[in-house]
Symmetry: C2
Subunit: 366 residues, 2 copies
Amino acid sequence: MAGARRHTLRDIAAALNLSVNTVSRALSGKDGIGEKTRARVRAEAERVGYVPNSVARSLVLGSAMTFGLVITNPSNPFYAQLISSIELRARTHGYSLLLMVTDESEENETRAVESLLRSSVGGSIVVPVQASADPWRRLSTVGVPTVLLNRDLPDLGYRFVGTDNELGGYRATEHAISRGARSIVVLEEDLPITTIADRIAGFRRAMAEAGLSVPRGSIMRVPTRRHEQAALPWQPQQAYQVARRMLRRARLPDAVVVGNDYFALGLYRALEVRGLKVPDDMMVIGYGDHPYSAFLSPPLTTVRLPAEEVGNIAVDLLLEEIAGGRSARPLKQLIAPTLVERESTDRTTSGRTSSAAKNDSGMTSR
Amino acid sequence: MAGARRHTLRDIAAALNLSVNTVSRALSGKDGIGEKTRARVRAEAERVGYVPNSVARSLVLGSAMTFGLVITNPSNPFYAQLISSIELRARTHGYSLLLMVTDESEENETRAVESLLRSSVGGSIVVPVQASADPWRRLSTVGVPTVLLNRDLPDLGYRFVGTDNELGGYRATEHAISRGARSIVVLEEDLPITTIADRIAGFRRAMAEAGLSVPRGSIMRVPTRRHEQAALPWQPQQAYQVARRMLRRARLPDAVVVGNDYFALGLYRALEVRGLKVPDDMMVIGYGDHPYSAFLSPPLTTVRLPAEEVGNIAVDLLLEEIAGGRSARPLKQLIAPTLVERESTDRTTSGRTSSAAKNDSGMTSR
DNA sequence: TCACGGAACATTAACGTTAATGTCCCGAAC
DNA sequence: GTTCGGGACATTAACGTTAATGTTCCGTGA
């Protein structure tokens, strides 16, 4: 692994008896260079395997062709998809991705900001912990274009793109109601973030519009220990415990709307242990449409999140912010999720295993 | 978002009537600086909110405090966990992470190498596509320390850490045999990568040691379309189709060992459609211990991968490579996965839904 | 014929940091 | 009292690139 020194513009210039600047302009396609010279330069660059040093480039330009991507937890499948789509679109536009994981910790957020500033990223895409907006203020004071992802911090006035979780919660609830549910319980994580609050707001709106009451205890919180399990997504286990508590109630709900598909797993288990059938005894509506959800038994009705679209728009918003022009699209964008109807809310075919077969074509989890 | 210009060493130097070099040495804790001066410099740096420019630092040092992390697919939960653990450990050692997604494409690999070279990363951790070792040769010729992750390319002689998949395949198979299986089928992805070949080798070794034959058709391949589904992990759907084909055979196997837990989902579904029970009619052993696998019904016996350990060791190996010292540990490291026994291979308690309850404490999916 | 414009290149400076030398001055040792 | 060593700082150079100016020379037009 002993490295031959990397070739620089100076090497090429020396070899061809040209100035460094000429070589630079020749390679970067600027004008004022004769076609013969340009060809010679390109040939020599090719010959020695010249790779431009983007560190030096960044220094003189004042910013790097790099986006900072700050994510709370890559093991959350939604964020994993976001990472993929953002990386691809950023790469398409010539940007690399500096990835930082905050693991829902504000302290890590502060460090991430430091890191972003040090490396003079060209911009950043951030899922904030939402404990405080403060860490992110520094980005605007030094002029780092920033787009908030999935969780907004309205105080900052940054561009934002995320899922319309209010609509998601509404659609999930409305669907349950349309299938005959009258008493509905929500199982949500206990994090103080807007995504969850929005889903609950959507739930309440759907209930109100249907003239249904939301008694105390309708919103159950699944304890999640922030910071403890860095590399793992939510645990179905915690949801299982909460679900068991709920199932000890005298009057059981007709349907449960959960905050993510992992919770649905815990709930499925709790129901199975109690000998209750989905959907006949209780309907279950998930959130997130994880790849496995179509394959549970029964297949889970769930809300599919527009991960790819959100990721793409995040990059586009950031590029617009960098370009500085007033953009055609609004500064804040909420993408609508879609309901994927499966058997966990379908009482007409429930219990028939053969129903799975008809699902062959219907399982369009993208 | 109009940026106040960022403060530099020069600003601090000017404010205190010192030279830039003195300020630099004062802040970086080098000696040859009076304690009073050092204190004054630190105070001023604090006051103006000085953030060192690591681009300039990287330029003069010749390499950045950045690791390149090249991953095929972040939506694979195993890789998602690797990303988390690697990011954390790299950060602990002061390194940032430049993330690149190859999506199993050699062309993207070539571009990733270019990108790594441009940004003069301090080192790189790579999951190669294993189509060819060529893209990665360039890293060693210019002296970029590189560690291969999860998939080795022995020709290159790089350090490597991964799961002992041969052992994983062996343990899965041996377990099935110990539970009474005699005829076993393997369901694997059809990618030409060593991880899969190793698992199959482990399967064959276990069968051979037990004196069991491996007739034609024992290894079934699930077609996966590389490049097509960037943001998604494996599709249970494809496994479902292959499993249905298998279940049309005259003689069915006692057990199926699958290459990942998603495939187990497809298999579960195919069995359910055929009216076959797990584990009584057929045992199922998964691979990967995804967070949901403990919550399937029946809970899936599977092979748990040492993601966190592998990630940590990858960073450690890279740090050793950078330090240049002969390391205490071997250049190639295989970490043993562990079998997690659940009910999909437990014929003594199968069918009893109450068995789920006893699992409350046993579901130690970390 | 000569001034002029512009194409094609060279030269200089700058980005912000670190490393290698230089300079100054003060105290200690002979 | 002079020299010498070294602490505390300054000065200079360098990393590899891009941007702003210079310089040369040749063809063109009056």
